[in-house]
């Protein structure tokens, strides 16, 4: 029997070149790919939305979002992804399918999305200006504060978008995009951000 050596690589392995891109000087936009995360889709079974909410509260100590929002626990982020469903984003396997199977056994179906999405974190003084080119929704702080989330599209690709906690006084936007669309969206993001100067990196740390 043939032996395989599976090598887990990011879908952006080829496209992502760390360092400076675009206009010289201070980078207005930072693009960081976050690698090696656990992402579980939790979707209520028919008529079990209330039970799922109870199970989520018991498991995470905080209510799962029922409107387009992202909430954080000590070691996970719960992101609304549609009616009666949310995503659990975490690291280290503590909230993987095996860990969540029992708590949600009678209320929700789980689907492991860890390797189906790419997570891109966008920050910097010009992040909002750059994202305005890609998103048709209003990302102004009054309309899209910290913790706001949206299931939307960017450049025709479905994305899950949410605003994380500010870093150095600046907004941080997170985008989850399907793995096979990631390289295309990545190049579009680079093109959109080039005029502001881009700082490109990847990280293992969840922001």
């Amino acid at each position: 029997m043939a032996e395989f050596s599976w090598d887990v690589r990011s879908p952006l392995d080829r496209a992502l070149v760390s360092g400076a891109h675009g206009a010289h000087g201070d980078a207005g936009v930072s693009l960081t790919e976050i690698r090696d995360f656990d992402l579980i889709q939790v979707m209520a079974r028919r008529g079990k939305a209330a039970d799922m909410a109870t199970a989520a509260k018991a498991r995470f100590g905080i209510a799962a979002p029922e409107t387009p929002k992202a909430v954080r626990t000590a070691d996970a982020t719960l992101i609304w992804s549609g009616p009666d469903q949310f995503l659990v984003l975490s690291k280290g396997g503590g909230h993987g399918t095996e860990a969540l199977a029992q708590p949600f056994a009678s209320s929700a179906s789980l689907s492991d999305q860890s390797h189906t999405r790419v997570l891109i974190s966008i920050s910097g003084a010009r992040a909002l200006t750059m994202l305005a080119k890609l998103s048709s929704i209003d990302l102004h702080p009054d309309a899209f504060p910290v913790g706001a989330a949206a299931a939307t599209s960017m450049d025709h690709a479905s994305v899950t978008l949410w605003r994380g906690n500010d870093r150095d006084g600046l907004a941080v936007f997170n985008v989850l995009v399907f793995a096979t669309f990631a390289e295309s969206l990545w190049h579009t993001m680079l093109d959109s951000a080039a005029e502001y100067g881009v700082d490109i990196s990847h990280s293992e740390d969840m922001a």
């Binding site: 029922e66 549609g82 009616p83 009666d84 048709s136 949206a150 299931a151 939307t152 025709h156 479905s158």
Partner: protein
């Protein structure tokens, strides 16, 4: 044209797909050939207010029932289609 998704809020048309008349109801099993023919093929060509199915595929992936005036594109109501979002529909 923009559609206000009951789950996501107001979004651009590009996030939605039109699925046609929301009126036809699937006949019961064993219905006559005429009833099935009507359901599959016959559609009213409404000039005015009609009920339509739309799919928010570029967003929350919910099915929506949109009341739209085909002459003016005015949308007077958007509600979740049966089965979309149990919490809101109670299905």
């Amino acid at each position: 044209m923009r559609i206000t998704c009951p789950f996501c809020g107001e979004r651009e048309l590009g996030e939605f797909t039109y699925l046609g008349d929301a009126k036809p109801v699937r006949p019961v099993a064993g219905a006559s050939e005429d009833e099935v023919f009507d359901y599959v093929y016959l559609r009213d060509n409404v000039a005015g207010v009609m009920s339509e199915n739309w799919y928010h595929g570029g967003g929350c992936r919910a099915w929506l029932k949109v009341t739209r005036n085909t002459l003016t594109h005015e949308i007077s109501a958007v509600e979740p289609a049966a089965g979309a979002g149990a919490a809101k529909v109670g299905a």
